[in-house]
């Protein structure tokens, strides 16, 4: 096998993780800054110019914090849980297509495996894994809040995974492929699927908020009831890893939403002319979506757990199914089916 290919993969993998890490750091900064502006405050403005070094300061602080492990906790699982939670968040984005350019006489694809023909299945599979980390963290802490919080969050995540999964079906039908690269291509030929799949898009956004435990579905963060839920016993870097996962997932779902429904790296005329703009176009779309997520957090109170589950099972799931039906029906009527 080509050694150059190996090096390319390794370099891309490292770049991906590093980008996500930096993205996480500056997403916390962005969230704090925006939340502050929403609330008549300044937000972090001491560490570095306009507080730009704040994420570093936080990280360094957390590294030097004591990590307490409760006495009756299951030590191995307690330490493994944050690791298990964080890995899926890092590896999901491997299948996101970022466009490609011609350089040195060969085609360089920006993405790691954007062409993977089962991209959507891959995303679903990896998201499911991240539930384990949360359940295990809640269970191994030997703490009532943590256990209840862990079980709650996992039930919430699997419930919304259904709606999320069904929302994937629409784009897959339109593009006749599970490959995200094909889906983006299909959108570049027609219009963004957000236009063609409005129900699917809305279902996806809501379900994604629940899936990543963000406001107004931030049950694990429900400090008002369970102090902090599954990660209540975690401190120091292990706690930071749960935060890292949460924020990385914010980025991840924004990327997925942008790819499936907002044309991904493609922007009409712009990326056709300058293909190297692909990653930047995606970045811009992601920032807009992230801003939306933060805006929601600044605005809405939290729904109650039973209401959340009812919404997931009684509204989102039927709506997503309906979307599949409608898509199939409309495509049939329009004669798009053989």
């Amino acid at each position: 096998m080509d050694l150059g290919l190996w090096i390319e993969w390794i370099v891309k993998a490292i770049i991906l993780i590093v980008v996500l890490l930096i993205g996480f750091m500056y997403l916390t900064y962005m969230e704090r800054k925006f939340l502050a502006r929403f609330q008549n405050r300044y937000g972090p403005n001491r560490a570095g110019p306009v507080g730009l070094l704040q994420p570093m300061a936080d990280g360094i602080k957390l590294i030097f914090k004591e990590e307490v492990i409760p006495k009756q906790a299951d030590k191995l699982i307690f330490i493994l849980a944050p690791v298990i939670t964080v890995i899926p968040a890092w590896v999901i984005l491997a299948v996101i297509p970022l466009g490609s350019i011609q350089l040195f006489g060969r085609t360089i694809d920006f993405s790691l495996a954007g062409d993977l023909n089962v991209g959507i299945l891959y995303i679903m599979a990896v998201t499911s894994i991240s539930v384990y980390g949360i359940v295990l963290a809640g269970w191994s802490s030997n703490n009532k809040y943590a256990l209840l919080g862990g079980i709650r969050s996992s039930a919430q995540m699997i419930s919304y995974e259904l709606a999320l999964g069904l929302a994937f079906v629409g784009p897959a039908m339109m593009a006749s492929s599970l490959s995200l690269a094909r889906i983006v291509e299909a959108q570049s030929k027609t219009v963004w699927f957000a236009v063609l799949q409005p129900i699917g898009f809305v279902v996806f956004l809501v379900a994604a908020l629940a899936e990543i435990n963000r406001s107004p579905f931030d049950m694990p963060e429900a400090e008002q009831e369970l102090t902090a839920g599954y990660h209540v016993e975690y401190s120091g870097m292990k706690f930071a890893m749960f935060m890292l996962t949460e924020y990385t997932k914010m980025i991840v779902v924004s990327v997925i939403a942008a790819t499936l429904f907002l044309g991904g790296y493609h922007f009409p005329f712009l990326t056709d002319r300058w293909p190297w703009l692909g990653p930047l176009v995606l970045f811009a779309k992601v920032i807009i979506l992230l801003f939306g997520i933060i805006w929601v957090r600044a605005t809405l109170p939290r729904v109650r757990y039973d209401q959340l589950m009812a919404l997931g099972w009684k509204v989102m799931l039927p709506a997503a199914l309906l979307n599949v039906f409608i898509t199939a029906g409309v495509m049939y009527v329009l004669g798009m089916i053989a």
Binding site: F38, Q39, N40, K144, S215, E225, R302, V303
Partner: protein, 585 residues
């Protein structure tokens, strides 16, 4: 009202003659400047039932234990009122000091629950038949009853202030040097502080287990007992709630308080009358001016003075501004309890700051205002402040209240989280002695400013806000309503503010308070705030009791919560709006 100078001090008992109704059980209290009746404790329940059912005094406002050490008698004082308004009725019962036992009035007035526990805890009066007589403010296992007159605190110095010169030799000394901590601390028998397990709450958990209600008979789900608090992010301070959960559902709940207890009343009895004024600020530290108001009324009743006209207006203005600042803050934090991430709270705090600016300019302090004096207030409005208040109550605040209303009231999530949650019916609210917004949200239009007017509230035009569902949503809405009504009062008061003096007589540093008893109550932002003060003619009050709405409103907390979800515990608590400084005293 026939004349403008209606006396706010109501002749409390002349309406009914209880002594004639129960000739062998009830006698009129004939002590000088005392009022009401003394009921034979063996027939207390019978008489209380008659008072409630036949005379219509359906609302138990306050239960106070008093230790008459020289007479060797303990007295329990009950203040009851009619929910239809009007003056109240005082009845008392006495018990020998060494074996203080009184029948519990919980079967007649469930609102006596926490208050009797408090009297048991602090005075050692045992209430026979009380369903759950545990200590409430002190910890289980505490030796002694701190409000008894012969109990001395760890750094006891003298019975009452002002203490003798602290600089006897031209040099300051501290009582801690003369009286080391160990010398004056009592421990229960065979108590070793080092080995004490402070979390030994067997009694609490037993009580919690006993009161479990509404379990699913089919599913044998584990009932999980969880502590929320004292170190919990959303209990509004060091407040603790022991909850029994079946899944997400609450099957039993006990509030546990006292973590901020400082024996306010004992300190109040050591202080001189005037020294207590700044001390009342610390009760409900979000509405210090209302606290001042109630205490000033009680002592003025004893002294029989009335503040001049301008002072009355200033008092009303300050009290109503306090109400707005309290309610706007309460709504902000309530939304926080619903999980809104601080945005409403910070917008609310912004408006509150403007009100605090006025307090600071007028009283010298933003929160601990210490503004009222017996027969007046300390300072007049500084230059420009009247105009500032004018602008605030005519322009800015009405608009901001509308804004709050616009953005929050019809929010889908707010409604689904609060409607039908934590219901307290009108009957329950009265029975549990709920007060203020909690009572009025349950459909009882009872506002002391109207029902039993004090100060000059009878001159203003305003409506008593009332809502009818008794759920968390109504308890939120009623605060918006009340802010609007307060603004109406303020608009009238600031327009009519007369010129004149602000203090009856000369400002005094030491007041003479004639012997007697008095109960002064005001409609504080959180509910009926009452002060029961007994003077024996000495510089210090013999008894100083606070009827704290934050405390008594918690009596119905369990009823509101049981059957709801665990997330509602905090939402309901937020809708009651407690301040721990007042709950724990």
């Amino acid at each position: 009202m026939d004349e403008q100078t209606a006396v706010p001090f109501i002749d409390v008992t002349r309406e009914v003659d209880l002594a004639a109704r129960f000739p062998e059980a009830v006698i009129v209290d004939v002590r000088k400047e005392y009022e009401g009746y003394i009921v034979n404790r063996d027939r207390l329940i019978e008489v209380a039932t008659a008072i409630r059912d036949e005379l219509g005094y359906d609302y138990l406002s306050s239960v106070t234990g008093v230790d008459y050490l020289p007479d060797g008698v303990m007295e329990v004082v009950y203040h009851v009122y009619k929910m239809t308004g009007g003056p109240g009725l005082v009845f008392k019962t006495q018990t020998p000091r060494d074996e203080a036992v009184v029948p519990s009035l919980v079967p007649v007035y469930p609102g006596a629950d926490l208050q009797e526990r408090e009297a048991w805890d602090l005075l050692g009066i045992r209430f026979e038949g009380h369903p759950d007589l545990r200590r409430i403010l002190m910890w289980e296992g505490f030796a002694g009853y701190p409000l008894r007159k012969d109990w001395q605190e760890a750094y006891f110095e003298e019975e009452g202030k002002p203490f003798k010169n602290r600089w006897p030799d031209g040099q300051v000394y501290r009582i801690e040097d003369k009286n080391p901590y160990e010398n004056n601390v009592q421990y229960p028998a065979d108590f070793i502080p080092e080995e004490y397990e402070p979390e030994n709450d067997a009694l609490l958990y037993d009580s919690l287990k006993r009161s479990i209600r509404g379990r699913d008979p089919e599913l044998e789900t584990d009932v999980v007992m969880v502590n929320m608090g004292p170190q919990h992010p959303s209990t509004h301070g060091v407040f603790r709630i022991a909850v029994a959960l079946e899944g997400e559902k609450i099957v039993a709940l006990k509030p546990v308080m006292g973590y901020l207890h400082r024996n306010h009343e004992k300190i109040g009895e050591r202080n001189t009358f005037l020294q207590n004024m700044p001390y009342t600020d610390r009760l409900d530290y979000l509405s210090s001016l209302s606290n001042n108001f109630g205490y000033a009324l009680a002592v003025e009743k004893l002294m029989n003075v009335r503040p001049p006209e301008r002072a009355e207006y200033l008092r009303v203005i300050m009290a109503e501004l306090t109400r707005i600042s309290n309610h706007i803050f309460a709504i902000g934090t309530f939304l926080n309890d619903l999980g809104a991430y601080f945005t409403p709270a910070l917008y609310a705090i912004k408006e509150r700051e403007l009100i605090l600016d006025i307090f600071e300019a007028t009283t010298g302090s933003r929160m601990m205002c210490n503004y009222f004096r017996f027969g007046g207030v300390t300072r007049d409005l500084p230059e420009g402040i009247a105009e500032k208040i004018h602008r605030l109550v005519y322009d800015r605040l009405p608009q901001k209240v509308d804004e709050l209303d616009l953005y929050l009231t019809n929010n889908e999530i707010v409604r689904s989280r609060t409607e039908g949650v934590g219901v307290l019916t009108a009957e329950q609210a009265i029975a549990y002695s709920a007060a203020g917004p909690v009572l009025r949200a349950s459909g009882v239009p009872y506002d002391i400013r109207r029902a039993d007017p004090y100060s000059i509230y009878d001159r203003f035009e305003f409506d008593v806000a009332v809502r009818y569902h008794g759920d968390t949503y109504d308890r939120y809405l009623i605060r918006i309503d009340e802010m609007r009504q307060s603004l109406r009062i303020l608009q009238q008061a600031i327009k009519d503010l007369p010129e004149g003096s602000i203090q009856e007589g000369k400002p005094q540093y030491q007041v003479r308070v004639p012997a007697g008893e008095a109960y002064g109550r005001v409609e504080g932002p959180k509910g009926e705030l009452g002060y029961y003060v007994i003077s024996n003619g000495k510089p210090n009050p013999w008894r100083y009791h606070v009827r704290a709405p934050s405390f008594i409103n918690l009596t119905g907390y369990e009823t509101m919560c049981v059957g709801n979800k665990v997330a509602d515990v905090v939402a309901i608590l937020g809708s009651i709006d407690i301040v721990l400084g007042e709950t724990d005293r």
